[in-house]
Symmetry: D2
Subunit: 467 residues, 4 copies
């Protein structure tokens, strides 16, 4: 029978056991569980509940359990319900009755809250590292591709002449804010529940601040009910990952498009492509599609966690058991997607001929022509209307705006003549004209790359306490 | 290298492999995958692509693979990506080059769509059986508890006198509609994608209708793009399970409340209770909380599946790989929750003293007093106002409405006198007065139980084709 | 003060009022509310609670209220909380004290449940009509474009030669299943809550079956708690709309892609295009993007409704007030998206030159070449590998598979010679080879169109009771 | 015809118009739109595009538009599509052709992104104020109720003796973290998109930093594509509000429970209660239920926004139009719920008799008895088991643990005798024993209140730039 059932209850029904057991999932917390127990031993020792010898015995015992788990020798038993009870049971087998002292002044409620925060912190930092990796790859490709032009699109229609590096830097900006959200989330969750007990603390004089410090937490949580029953740290972390996932899906979508025959803007390396079981010619951008799909999983996990905790009264409610899978999967999905995307982007070929060729059609300098009219004193709305009419005229002839005859231009407005007009219609000139802060002119993009590189590097130097 | 990569691509990168492999998850489809392959062999044989001997060799080989998997001897290899390629590879090892003929006229796209439909049908029918079990338990408890009264609540405030069996029958009504939704979903998905190939069918003359029939499908799907790229059957099934989950969460919530010291309406059996690792006296209704939490998982899975397929262009997109976990988990969660809830309700004790005791406070017959005034010609709005005033008067004295003096009643309205007034204020009489269809009067509830039992039994006799 | 507060409570606080009032939203139910009241008057008259004269007075009064609302003359007052109390108050102003009899044997709980079911049924039928419209447009375009070929894609990579009409028919298949889900949902919700009262029915002898019939419901609901507290009909309807929305988003995504310069497969009419406030040349497929976005709204509404009802104990809980906006918006969004998409598709131009031109590149007949080898006795896996190697060879030369020399083909396999090989490499032949059920061969697609047309027409003839 | 359609396109279809128009929703941005335009006028003037006179004319014109809107005199026209075009059209009517210069160097894409950020900042700050209000109310009630004890619950079962003020402070801790998340979100979004144009900036030499400063933004956004196409600031803000909503729902759930007859821990004031249209005696905690429901709306809005932006390619896509309603509704719902909850809690009565009475049953000091055994050298697991047995014995006799006879205690363990044992079993002593940091002992809770008050006050003094 489960240790946790204690002396109060008869055995659990089989249907109950299947619902109740969580060890298949939560055993993944074993390292955090042991770390937390070791810190708790320090607390018990400090409070005089454990002698030095007992404390050392327990620490040695837990080390042995850790070695067994790492070596794949642990016999995880669903009847013992969860990771906590499995480890404690094994400890008692190893060290004898003194093992029964470990759970003094502690409940699974503060224990699992501690484990989850340690896990979230550790995986969060891993994701930060993967994010830094992707950021670095994008910055590198942007710098390398600095001279390649391409259209900027809106509504997937060609809009204005721009620059591939400028486009890549937009990806980077999104990821930079994701970094900030992750750091905020990890910093906010880095507090210690230990000492909160089941719900109302404990009567033993545990030095909670000292225990918190030994785990790298910024300090103990301030209220025992809150410490054991709140999971907003998971909602915050996973929703930050979901937003990151949305951003990765946007990059993924563009890679899928750009890899198509129709766009032909990039080609993934073989190492990041797949083929078809039926069609021998296929080279598919599955990597980008799978990344796109991870966003769906992350959004669903966010929903699950929020719904799980909605309307829960204090303190701990058992459905919180089911917050682990969404957390574990979300951390895995985010990290795997970041690494795969970094590899795919790093090894892909950009096709400058296709990117720049796309500037040739779509009347991309229509705005520039209207802007020219503005410099001649025409209000923008009127200029916009005049150029819109010229585009219609060009479209009807099946030609580009820039190919309209001098007569046609002049007929639309008396200022539409001369070399400045032809300059306005040139895509390369148009990109360089957009030289304001945040624009695609070469010098501006180079500045942006340098600035971003400095920011990312500085951020990577700042460590999170305990992490 | 993966068989699927064929002659076209170089090896996959490690980061790609981690993202791309799915066998850890989709190996759970092995039985359906082999069933589908056996049916496909029939199609190839019928089309003259396989000789009888070849077909038999392949069938025997697949039988051996199935035995190996069942015995836990299969070496699942992530490098082979998925369940399909792992099984085909093992088949080729067993039967030699002829194994390479199995995938003729087929793609993983129609193959996995077939596997998923077979899986959804099989698990859906299991869930129906578990639902029938819970329905039966509730009907049994309702019949047994037919004489126990209790308040009907709104806003968790006592509202009117009612009957425990009537309350349990409300649970049953929700579940009955869930049954209908599941049957509709299973019926609609019971079509065969086989023969759709990768996206545009195949040039081989497979008799798709015959293959569909051999798998118990109602027929072949009508369009090869749709057959390989649509997953609305998963969205429909899982959203039906989510609605079921919401219903189970409502039952769970009531069990949590009713098991509290404050309500004390029921006590779970030891077999469906848990204790605390810290507090030795605890007997917790974790079963009901966990059931409540499964609704969160099911809602999140619905979200995931809908988001996954949103805005996907035709045909198959690779993110569909990630539809499996939400499906598998949802089917497991629904089945486990149904079984645990059935066991918990079957073995719980209802406490008639507490249920009926709750009728004593809360002015529960206030509506009946107003209704009495209506029979005396007072418009309901006015009657409602008069009785509201009497309730306020009683509350100020800290007594029940039924304890107001004859003088106080008479002062409120001249008709408020006589034995009919006192009868209107009696909870037991009030329940029997509500004898219209769908009401809590004993005879009505007994009729409702009999009617429900007949419906459920009839439904269980109706089989779903192939299931 | 609100009528509903009756004689029991003092006035509401301002902050409470802002939270509590719902009339700004739920006034949209006015027509259903009056229809339900008229039916309820019939019930009260049948039970002898209202005389014929009183009943007629109330009916006339409600007719006047309806006229006033239609004419925009109703003074909706948030202090009266909701649509029900606003209408009842106005009725009392018109007909005097007898208006206070209307709410006899009724509560807002059964009243609003009735209104919502009537609304869901009416709007559901409107959506069915819009869906039939879109289905008809697609069938018409498929028939008209029957001879236009195009690639079938997977992973947005060209896969095999196919037919535009076959692609459009895939859209139609998804919508057909959506139709079935909607009919199922509407049929299941078409039951009458009236007579269920607040939670436990009423003591008055209302003939619920007759009242149900007068509203076109299939019958009265079987349990008063369930009738007033369950909202699975909304979850089912809105999740069916969300699945429909996902399907529309897929069509929308393809329209966005196909309208791009890069694909150029179709051009939207001016009436369904938009321009840019800045870029004069833009012609944007906003219609398709907006449709794509509606899926997000519908998914979010599904989430909201499921979360809203999760873990609610019986009976009615007040948060159900907030189920109206998700319902109203979902019905609007689905209908508007269907109509706009129907118009956009009906008036768009397909560009056969671009669609068929896309067959020229992408080695689209590689599967056909492998299939040819299969007919020569080569196991498919080996054939797939051989052709994969040929594709690689062609790609390295920058040519198509079909342009490889006879020597190169022969070097790969001795069977790769002769006219049949060249025929296998021809896209037009390849489409016609795929003549199995559900395939893109012309005859098959024409059959599919005829079959679909018959199905849709038959379905439109079947009416839903009361609708 | 819409100004935005310019000279390029013919008129829109009616079905398109219904889908495309957004002014009914986005007119709520009018103030931000005008503020943004005024700042943009400064930019145009600084770049020499507008003369001082022209700039002043436009500013005066916009002031007049603002006055008209405030006075309810604006004729909003759906044919003009959105708030931007309606305001610009009206401006042109007022000031003539010079109005057509306003949109120079700007697109609706950077314009609406600016409006949304200004709106999110302003509403975010309002929500912070409402949150501060609720925080203050809770701190006040905690201080006032400092001496009232109550059980701490887990799984809705009584667990250990605790203190009402300690419970209220758990609410406060959750809200404090919500405050941090909101401040982070508002700070991160406080950047200026103006100057980003449609997607690739503008060729005019706008001083973006100066424009940003004039709107109180921390600076201009660094990339024009990102500035116009990213909406993570909405996802972050709304998911922070959803987490806040989850927290409010937990408080709401407890108020519903505590207001029930069964708990009876608190009574809402009349001003925050509602009654029933049918049952005259009802006093319902609708306020708490409605608050609980707002969490569902906020979760759904989070889902919608994430799904809306998933897989969008750069730059601006039109479905972003539909991000407004989720934003507007979420801000409203959060603010209304905070204010109503603050009022409800401020005016509610806590019933000390019922709260403290609940300590009498539930063996609440079982943990304390086990802890006592630990101090006598018994390992906790064994002590837990011994006390569990005693609880079972007491339960079988229908008595409390503290009522077991001296003999029964002694029989369970030789240390279970003497006054310390009786002291361990006293709930009041047990609460004071829990005097560690974060525990419910009176001194600790008073410290926690003082600390929290100081933190909240300090935070309120810190202003957000521009807000």
């Amino acid at each position: 029978m489960s240790v946790a059932r204690g002396g109060r209850l008869a055995a659990a029904d089989q249907a109950m056991l299947e619902l109740n057991q969580s060890v298949e999932v939560d055993k993944r917390l074993w390292r955090e569980d042991i770390d937390g127990s070791v810190a708790h031993i320090g607390g018990l020792e400090g409070a005089g509940i454990l002698s030095s010898e007992e404390a050392q015995t327990l620490r040695d015992g837990l080390s042995q359990v850790a070695r067994e788990i790492e070596a794949g020798q642990m016999q995880w038993d669903p009847v013992k319900e969860d990771v906590h009870m499995n480890i404690e049971s094994r400890l008692v087998e190893i060290v004898g009755a003194v093992g029964g002292k470990l759970h003094t002044a502690r409940s699974r409620n503060d224990q699992v809250a501690t484990d989850l925060r340690l896990f979230a912190r550790r995986r969060g930092v891993e994701i930060l590292e993967a994010l830094d990796g992707l950021g670095g790859v994008i910055l590198g490709r942007a710098e390398e591709q600095i001279d390649v032009l391409m259209p900027a699109y809106t509504h997937l229609q060609r809009g204005q002449p721009s620059r591939l590096a400028h486009h890549l830097m937009a990806w980077q900006e999104m990821l930079w804010r994701d970094r900030g959200r992750l750091v905020d989330a990890i910093t906010r969750l880095n507090e210690s529940p230990l000492g909160a007990g089941a719900v109302a603390g404990t009567g033993f004089a545990i030095d909670r601040a000292s225990v918190a410090q030994s785990l790298g937490f910024s300090g103990p949580m301030r209220n025992s009910l809150d410490a054991t029953a709140s999971r907003d740290f998971l909602m915050e972390l996973v929703s930050a990952l979901a937003i990151l996932g949305v951003h990765l899906s946007r990059i993924g979508e563009e890679i899928v498009l750009w890899s198509s025959s129709e766009f032909g803007f990039m080609e993934l390396s073989d190492g990041f492509s797949t083929s078809s079981s039926m069609m021998p010619q296929k080279k598919n951008p599955d990597v980008a599609e799978l990344v796109r799909g991870k966003a769906a999983l992350l959004i669903g996990a966010t929903t699950t966690l929020m719904v799980l905790e909605k309307s829960l009264c204090f303190g701990y409610g058992r459905e919180l058991q089911d917050d682990k899978r969404p957390l574990f999967d979300s951390c895995d999905n985010a990290r795997i997607a970041l690494n795969a995307l970094a590899g795919a982007i790093e090894t892909a070929s950009f096709r400058a001929d296709r990117l720049e060729g796309a500037l040739e059609r779509g009347h991309l300098t229509a705005t520039d022509l209207a802007d020219y009219l503005v410099t001649q004193g025409v209000p923008f709305r009127e200029a916009h209307h005049i150029v819109g009419g010229l585009v219609r005229k060009a479209s009807e002839q099946g030609i580009e705006l820039s190919k309209l005859s001098a007569e046609e231009l002049l007929a639309a407005h008396p200022s539409l003549q001369g070399s400045e007009v032809r300059a306005a219609l040139d895509p390369r000139t148009a990109v360089e004209r957009r030289a304001l802060f945040g624009g695609p002119a070469k010098a501006r993009v180079l500045e942006a790359i340098a600035d971003a590189r400095a920011r990312w590097q500085l951020a990577q130097k700042e460590s999170i306490a305990g992490a």
